[in-house]
């Protein structure tokens, strides 16, 4: 679904990142609540010296253990008669200061170690990370305890201990990111621009790591406040008369049964503080994490949502077609914007026929193909119009169970990258057997035999052995053969192949293409073949549809379209690619860029880049013109035969 992901990246940026991020954060009501509570607590803590509070350490044995709402003591008093409200606010001040300092110390040293280790790599990395691993080999709190045990109880010692045990956490996180960034090409580019290692580390790498440091800090600060409170609770942190929230809670514990409020109140404060920080931290993470922005963390449902506004009626089904698609429209809805990825596509595939869809990235060719069996992820995708008739049955009206039944049996798929499309944790055999058993009630042994015979069909040597292999143990070409075997498992009538050879080397591509070509003839299966390469089209497709900005601009037989393209875009697309054996050919580049599919023009989408465009091209939607038997073009000024030769 690279096309879908690419589309929203295009729109022109109107504002810079910063106000945008804050706005996003405030949109999140939980994060806002967290921010408000946190701000209130911090304000109260900061203002402690200014507030009309009694001395937090002034004991008054006469007033000991007053309940909350007692006169002059809003939250009551503790075992020594000290005012709990005053101690609470002063204690919060201490806890906050300790938590924040510990976070800063850990973040600074941890990030520095992580940056250096990740960037330097090699021995430096090994040495630093081994050290970090050693520290991490201790249960977290235990190490802090050991440090406090040796240094002696005290708030400052607790702070050091908590900071030290958190350094590995930062170091590991940051190292991972820095390592990935250091291998990125822009680091090599900076090196070739004459920058020194220090310059690259702090000027090129650090700015990219900063968001991660901030996310890590926002998620750990609450945690550090909890841990320092814990040490104080055990009597190892703040020492009397100084009090932080943890030591107040620890004092209260001794009189839990007689005066529970003395421990409940500081505990509630710790909870409120940490909860508000975590709410805020989650909000910050949601804003900064690119995965959440791009929608990479929304769960796609089993089948694309069908919300058809137009259902074409009284269609005369094409008798020769196994699959007959009319007026297919698929849209993506992202944050209020509608991306019309497919804007009305008709196609028909007969028995044993191969139809190619050619287009550039973002043209909607994959989305068209994936819409047929509902494999476009929802959210954000939805099918908004058209019908897809499989032997006369409307797939968009079928039940989910019916679609599941047809997937992999009547209609099967082969995808682009054979490494990511096979499950890495199951053997090839298990995955093939699953495909067989999903549609045929065969016992396992028989299914295994069938799986082996399928591998033989796709010409994989030593099939019985190969069934035990995991995908990563096979080469790219082998993996794609396995995928093809899977597509053949239940005698599919239609195979939808989405750029099945794009990720492969030329010689392997040739093998896979000739295999597919032979198999469709043997099995009499129709193929819908998605590609960007006219060379590949020539090798396998009977007919071609050229796609641009969500619509077919031209259809016809492969020979016709290659020899005399009628749409200016088709002609340009053929002419801009170098052809083997014709090194002297001048490459005719297409100027400009394709339109973004959330802002399509009324008229022809190609008009902006077209040398033949006239006013009428931009005025109204362009109808499809029939040029001959099975030959159509969506252009008001198509090229005639002579023009194409010229």
């Amino acid at each position: 679904m690279a096309e879908a992901a690419a589309a929203p990246a295009k729109p022109a940026k109107t504002t810079s990142g910063r106000p945008d991020s804050l706005h996003l954060l405030l949109n999140n009501s939980l994060a806002t609540a967290g921010l408000v509570i946190f701000a209130l607590i911090v304000l109260a803590a900061l203002a402690a010296p200014l507030l009309p509070l009694p001395d937090p350490d002034a004991t008054a044995p006469a007033n000991r253990l007053l309940r909350p709402l007692a006169e002059g003591h809003l939250l009551g008093t503790d075992a020594l008669g000290r005012d709990i409200l005053s101690r609470l606010i002063w204690g919060t001040r201490v806890s906050l200061a300790v938590g924040i300092s510990a976070t800063l110390i850990a973040a600074f040293f941890g990030s520095l170690i992580g940056l250096v280790a990740g960037y330097a790599g090699g021995r430096v990395d090994t040495l630093l990370m081994r050290g970090i691993d050693m520290v991490m080999a201790f249960p977290y709190i235990l190490l802090a305890l050991a440090i406090v045990a040796v240094l002696g109880p005290g708030l400052l010692n607790a702070l050091y201990a908590i900071a030290v045990v958190n350094i590995p956490f930062f170091a590991r996180n940051i190292r991972g990111i820095a390592l990935g960034l250091s291998r990125r090409e822009f680091v090599d580019a900076a090196r070739l621009s004459g920058k020194s290692n220090t310059q690259i580390l702090f000027v090129e790498v650090l700015p990219n790591v900063l968001p991660v440091i901030i996310i890590t800090m926002s998620t750990t600060i609450g945690w550090m406040i909890l841990e320092t409170a814990g040490l104080s609770f055990l009597g190892l942190g703040a020492q009397p008369p100084q009090a932080d929230l943890g030591s107040m809670l620890g004092d209260g514990r001794k009189i839990l049964f007689t005066a529970p409020h003395v421990s409940i109140i500081p505990g509630t404060m710790i909870f409120a503080l940490v909860m508000s920080i975590n709410l805020l931290g989650d909000g910050v993470r949601d804003v900064l994490d690119p995965r959440l922005k791009s929608g990479a963390l929304t769960r796609p449902v089993a089948r694309t949502a069908v919300m058809r506004q137009i259902v074409p009626e009284d269609i005369r089904p094409d008798r020769n077609a196994v699959l007959d698609v009319r007026g297919l429209k698929t849209e993506f809805h992202f944050g209020g914007e509608v991306y019309k990825a497919v804007g009305g596509v008709d196609m028909a595939i007969g028995q044993g026929e191969c139809l190619g869809i050619v287009g550039e990235s973002g043209s909607g060719k994959s989305v068209s193909a994936m819409s047929i069996m509902g494999l476009v992820p929802t959210p954000p995708g939805r099918i908004t119009g058209g019908v897809a008739l499989l032997d006369g049955e409307d797939l968009f009206a079928a039940t989910d169970e019916r679609i599941r039944h047809l997937r992999g049996s009547a209609v099967s798929h082969v995808f682009q990258d054979p490494l990511s499309t096979l499950h890495p944790l199951f053997t090839v055999g298990d995955q093939l057997i699953e495909a067989i058993q999903a549609h045929q009630p065969l016992p396992k042994a028989q299914a295994r035999e069938k799986a082996a015979s399928l591998l033989k069909v796709v010409r994989i040597p030593n099939p019985a052995e190969r069934l035990k292999s995991y995908p990563h143990e096979l080469s790219g070409g082998m993996r794609q053969r396995v995928c093809i075997a899977m597509a053949l498992a239940n005698d599919a009538k239609i195979i939808i192949a989405d750029e099945p050879t794009t990720a492969l080397d030329v010689t392997v591509q040739a093998q896979v293409l000739s295999l597919l070509d032979a198999l469709r003839k043997e099995h009499n299966a129709g193929i819908l073949f998605i590609t960007h390469d006219f060379g590949v089209v020539s090798a396998i497709c009977d007919r071609v549809a050229v796609m641009y900005a969500g619509q077919f601009v031209e259809t016809g037989t492969t020979d016709d379209i290659l020899s005399s393209p009628a749409h200016p875009y088709t002609a340009k697309l053929i002419d801009c690619v170098p052809v083997l054996g014709q090194p002297e050919r001048r490459l005719d580049a297409i100027g400009g860029r394709p339109p973004v599919v959330n802002r399509l023009p009324i008229g022809c989408a190609f008009a902006e880049r077209c040398p033949r465009a006239q006013d009428d091209c931009r005025a109204a939607p362009i109808p499809v013109t029939e040029l001959g038997e099975g030959r159509t073009v969506r252009c008001v000024h198509p090229l005639t035969g002579e023009a194409a030769d010229a």
Partner: protein
């Protein structure tokens, strides 16, 4: 596979050595005269002198380490001056109680966390997801020692459903039901934070996996949605969650320090706190070493499970 496990076991040895080095270095940081610190302020000068010689404190640091390590390897962890018994005996006795508590918690948090995370991911954006997400957030924000106190107040003091402290009833206890009765509240309290962490991670891992190409392949094959989620997606998500369960074991073992103190559980955590406040440093050292070693072994197990699940790691 066996070869891999053997290799991992061998690789754990340097880590264990690393642990001893760190503990040794921490002990070397003790301000003032270590022997006095170790023996306490009531030690006789003869005893201090003898310990100084025994620890080789007049020798260089590296040599001191090897003398120290040699003693450890002979099972000589020294004597606790507060308890007047060998450190190792006390530590091992206490450790079994901690294992019961922490082990129960770990099972509890893994099961609850995985279930909550999967439900929350599968029903993303539904009210179930929102409730789980919020409860999980509360779970990771609440101070466990405070939660323990609240639970005691409600379930032990008010409702009298569970005992407030200890591992067995003083009169007539000692059997399994009695143990479980005492175990319930502390194990639950200890599991809360880890459950939250595991649930969160499971949710993210499931959501990430459900976007993968191979999930689309599974759907394209016509596999039922249940199989897609619980077989294809869950197995892949588990691979990322298991190391985190390993790390959570460390938090559970560490968190036991608080919970054992709150519930007066006779484990190694409450022993450590007492030992620190009485400055019984040999007891602290022994306790830390044993718990850390157990943690290393547990992480090793998590590694092996992960490798069994993921053939790419072999």
């Amino acid at each position: 596979m066996t070869a891999y496990i053997a290799k991992r076991l061998l690789a754990a040895i340097p880590v264990l050595f690393g642990l001893t080095i760190i503990v040794f270095l921490i002990m070397a940081m003790i301000p003032g005269d270590p022997a006095t610190a170790i023996l306490g302020s009531y030690a006789t000068p003869e005893n201090v002198e003898r310990l100084n010689r025994q620890l080789g404190l007049d020798k260089p640091l590296v040599q001191q380490y090897f003398i120290w390590l040699g003693n450890m390897l002979h099972g000589d962890f020294g004597r606790s001056y507060t308890l007047n018994r060998p450190v190792l005996d006390e530590v091992l006795e206490r450790f079994s109680a901690t294992l019961i508590l922490a082990g129960t918690s770990l099972v509890l948090c893994s099961v609850l966390g995985l279930i909550a995370g999967v439900i929350s991911a599968v029903r993303q954006f539904s009210w179930v997801d929102k409730i789980i997400t919020f409860v999980v957030l509360i779970g990771i924000s609440v101070p466990s020692f405070w939660l323990g106190l609240l639970l005691i107040l409600v379930f032990a003091v008010d409702l009298r459903w569970f005992p407030a402290s200890g591992m067995f009833a003083i009169y007539g206890g000692g059997d399994l039901p009695d143990l479980l009765h005492h175990l319930f509240l502390p194990a639950l309290t200890l599991a809360v934070v880890a459950t939250g962490v595991i649930a969160r991670l499971t949710r993210t891992a499931m959501l990430e996996v459900l976007r993968q190409d191979y999930i689309r392949t599974a759907r394209a094959k016509g596999v039922t949605e249940n199989a897609v989620i619980y077989k294809h997606a869950f197995k892949a998500a588990l691979v990322t969650v298991i190391p985190v369960i390993g790390i959570q074991a460390g938090f559970v073992l560490g968190g036991a320090v608080y919970i054992e103190t709150v519930f007066q559980w006779p484990g190694i955590g409450s022993m450590l706190v007492k030992a620190i406040s009485t400055r019984d440093l040999l007891l602290v050292q022994g306790g830390v070493l044993v718990v850390a070693a157990a943690y290393v072994l547990f992480n090793l197990a998590a590694d092996v499970v992960q490798t069994i699940l993921d053939p790419r790691l072999r």
